[in-house]
Point group: C2
Chain length 556, copies 2
């Protein structure tokens, strides 16, 4: 393409919302334009990059014989509601009522759509395993759009599903998907971290998610589900339960200073209203409740919130600040496993101004024991017991084995070898393509602009005539442009009436991998050859251009 005919739209600076380098660079390079908060248009250069990333992904998907489909953006209300999963109830989903008063979820990206399709097509074990995927635009009522296309209201997303029969294949397919993800990220020039639960992240100081990483072994996990090693069980003798007056001490910190000790000696009881029931969660005094863990232990979530003061008063028969497990009116009591290993701890007494000391699990109360805590850098690795670092990260994608849960809810069954109905096992994998694009820029830029990896770059080569008014240079530049086009190279010709400096700046900003400059030395049959990711400028003969370009593009 000739730049004079293009909508290039490069800018020297960006106004507003500039916290993130990728956002600034993508706006400056004319890749995206903001429409509203979390809503962006992709300009011609951006669309080319999106197309490149999509076709790179498609290539990888085809290698594993996954078949592309196009899923409707409309999901009838009843088909999502048959499947009791948490996401259905996500407040991030837009709902629409059409003229015939039919209610739809809208915006694509629902597991149920894919499962519904296969439910109707798959009859027999002979058809399994099979995989489908789609790369489609989703819309989402994102609460806090942020960082440009990293967290936006609409985005292209790869969703891939593998339907299989038994658990031997599962691992095979999960591994195959990991290879595919590896291949995609590698070609995109992304330096990623894969957690043990198959979430893919990049490290980023502004990341809004956390990852726990062991400093000694391979343990890496999403902070939302990361575990830690448990301390040894305390073996002190149990002392007799004792109710003591603790006037005006409601918080753990107040208690700790009242008793002149640290929060670790207390256990706090947090009351939630989940699905309209009272659910109390107990964690050690210095801990915080991990709500993700609580949710996943509670099954189907219709609603989830902290209990209001009235509910706390009802449950505890006391003012707020004195909740504890003994004589608590609740439907479910969740007890973090750590507490069962503690001895003689302190809890609220469900009586205004009182706490119990010398409390012990099993003797004084019981509940559902599990892991309900957020872990911190004070914790130790659950695998090897060494120190854990918590890194802030941004999410690239994930692979999850849903096993038969969804198929069971949706009655997605097939006839197995014995002629019996069996629910399909399902693996899901997804990548937010728009975010991927932004994260490529996060990891591939310098002070002059973007440094696109070759497989993603919007153009492979840019040809620049140093002096617009020099006919010899312009003509040579155009010849080189035509020659490269004729051998299938995606080449840009900067034929604008601009100074060479402006053209170099734009070429660097957009991040074209190869720059060919036609300058004074053209009279000796020579041009300048420069790679975007290298400062060397090389003089080469015009006759060598094709070979040089092809060899650079085919290098790994």
């Amino acid at each position: 393409m000739k730049l004079s005919k293009m909508i290039l739209g490069t800018l020297r600076e960006v106004q507003g919302e500039t916290e993130l380098e990728s956002y600034k660079l993508m706006v400056r390079a004319g890749i995206i334009r903001k429409v509203a908060s979390g809503v962006y248009n992709f300009m011609p250069t951006g669309k080319k990059i999106i197309n490149n990333v999509n076709s790179l992904i498609k290539n990888e998907m085809e290698k594993m014989d996954s078949q592309e489909i196009e899923v409707s953006q409309f999901v009838p209300f009843e088909s999502l509601n048959q499947c009791n999963n948490k996401e259905n109830n996500s407040t991030d989903t837009f709902e629409i009522v059409d003229k015939s008063q039919k209610k739809f979820y809208v915006g694509a990206g629902f597991k149920e759509s894919y499962i519904e399709i296969m439910k109707n097509e798959i009859k027999s074990y002979k058809q399994l395993p099979v995989s489908i995927y789609s790369i489609q635009k989703r819309i989402k009522d994102e609460t806090k759009p942020k960082f440009g296309i990293i967290k936006s209201k609409e985005f292209n997303e790869l969703q891939c599903y593998v339907f299989y029969d038994d658990s031997v294949e599962a691992e095979q397919y999960v591994n195959r998907l990991c290879e595919v993800f590896n291949g995609i990220y590698h070609k995109c020039g992304i330096d990623f971290i894969k957690t043990n639960s198959l979430k893919f992240f990049i490290k980023h100081s502004l990341g809004e998610e956390g990852m726990a990483c062991c400093e000694a072994c391979e343990y890496k996990e999403d902070l939302e589900i990361a575990k830690c090693a448990l301390r040894e069980k305390e073996e002190d003798d149990m002392k007799p339960l004792n109710k003591i007056s603790t006037p005006d001490t409601r918080t753990i910190d107040e208690l700790a200073s009242f008793f002149n000790t640290t929060p670790e000696y207390f256990v706090k009881t947090i009351i939630y209203k989940i699905n309209n029931k009272i659910v109390a969660v107990m964690v050690r005094g210095d801990r915080e409740v991990n709500e993700t863990k609580v949710k996943s232990s509670m099954g189907y979530i219709v609603s989830f919130e902290l209990a209001d003061e009235d509910m706390v008063r009802y449950a505890t028969s006391a003012e707020v600040g004195f909740a504890g497990p003994i004589n608590l009116k609740c439907d479910t009591l969740l007890v973090d496993e750590e507490i069962t290993r503690m001895r003689n701890f302190m809890v609220g007494a469900n009586d205004t101004g009182y706490h119990y000391e010398y409390v012990n699990y099993e003797r004084d109360f019981t509940g559902i024991v599990g892991d309900f805590k957020k872990i911190t850098e004070k914790d130790k690795c659950p695998v090897c017991g060494n120190s854990i670092k918590i890194k802030s990260v941004m999410r690239l994608g994930e692979i999850a084995n849903l096993e038969t849960t969804y198929a069971e809810n949706m009655n997605a069954v097939f006839l197995d070898k014995l002629g019996k109905n069996k629910p399909m096992s399902i693996i899901e994998a997804s990548i937010n393509v728009d975010r991927l694009l932004a994260l490529i820029v996060e990891q591939n830029h310098d002070e002059n602009g973007i440094v696109w990896p070759k497989s993603v770059a919007p153009y492979e080569v840019i040809v620049i005539a140093a002096v617009f008014k020099n006919e010899e240079q312009m003509k040579a530049a155009e010849n080189i442009y035509n020659k490269l086009r004729s051998i299938g190279i995606d080449v840009l010709l900067d034929d604008r009436d601009e100074r060479a400096g402006v053209k170099f700046k734009d070429a660097d900003l957009i991040g074209v991998p190869i720059r060919i400059t036609v300058g004074k030395k053209i009279s000796d049959g020579k041009v300048e050859f420069k790679l975007r990711n290298n400062d060397n400028v090389e003089d080469i003969n015009i006759s060598d251009i094709e070979e040089k370009v092809l060899s650079e593009l085919h290098k790994n």
Copy 2:
């Protein structure tokens, strides 16, 4: 791809909604699956066809240097409302309110999005002309979804815009777009008709739109805007206006039989409520009002409906059935041009049980004169005066020169050569890609299934082993499959354990252009070669397959 690994989903028959051949065939061939009324999924074969049509369109667009962009599906309320056009107020648009209470139109496809983009990028005449396009999924609150993907709630659509400076270029660009459309339809095997106003149709007995075609000259027009030759002006002397009693005659037919004449001697007055105003439209008694023509004469339409009985009574001071132009209380009176050429006609008297006879335009009433009638086969060609046939048609696409109307409303201006602000002129072109796909099938099928044109076909070649259990045949089939794949042919191997008859039926149903059957003659090194659009079966040597396939695929 091997069929044993594919989700093929061919069916012998289709239940329900089977009025249209393309719908039946696309469901039977496993191309689409219905989710709800007007909502469909594209299965793997369907998605391949969509991809092929899209890339065929992209190729044509690139030939005219149009640049692809990706437009947000969200359009902020305020940006559509700044531009007073009728479509904004279309009840076919879904509206969404996000969590931050911001209101959006949703579903892409709004002219305003494209104009807004260029308004921000184009500063100077030097950047013009320029063209952008997108092929994106739109959603639409279609009142009556019908005929499968021909009229559905969501569809892929090509939208192309050309922004230009002056009117010399306009014709050039319109012609260029016509060539592009020509190229697309031709490659899709579509036999289309282009109207004078650049709407593209195919003839179809079930088509819900009409096209007026002159039987002698080249006049072809969308019935919604088609004109007709006017009869000669009647030159009779005007008789004195006379009010006569016409008890119980409210309709034109009742009047005609009351006076023992034909409806042509009457003029009817139909009352509408448009933008909350009373608008009366007069057409000859045997005519019907063309509401499209009325709408386009009324400018910005917020609401449009027939007046209710109360409004009619108020406007006419009479019961329903006696409306006429004399002493009518209305805000606007639209008079079809034909009426100004009539003499001594009859109208309602705005008095229950009375009509006026010997009414004449200008002497007895005046209004806004224009073309407000539906034309019929009784009319004559507006160009040559010969007979007109009205054909039922389905719409393929359209090109429209919007000129500066939208740019003026949206203040989308550029600096012209004199340094003055000038609104951009805009040409719009669009094709509903999903409908195009269905119409290809309408025009390219036989009793056995679909006959895809080569450039659209989901696969180029299908290789079938006649006897699944015959190892020699299966091995040879697989070899041919691998060989063809290795030279870049998109080939299917039917390796299912099915009878040859079933495989042939499926191959015909899906419509693969070339079928290669490995049968008994494989022992002599021969296979059967058959084209989908030809009954001939040819025995060819294995060694000739590649050459034969390539030569067939490259034939025009």
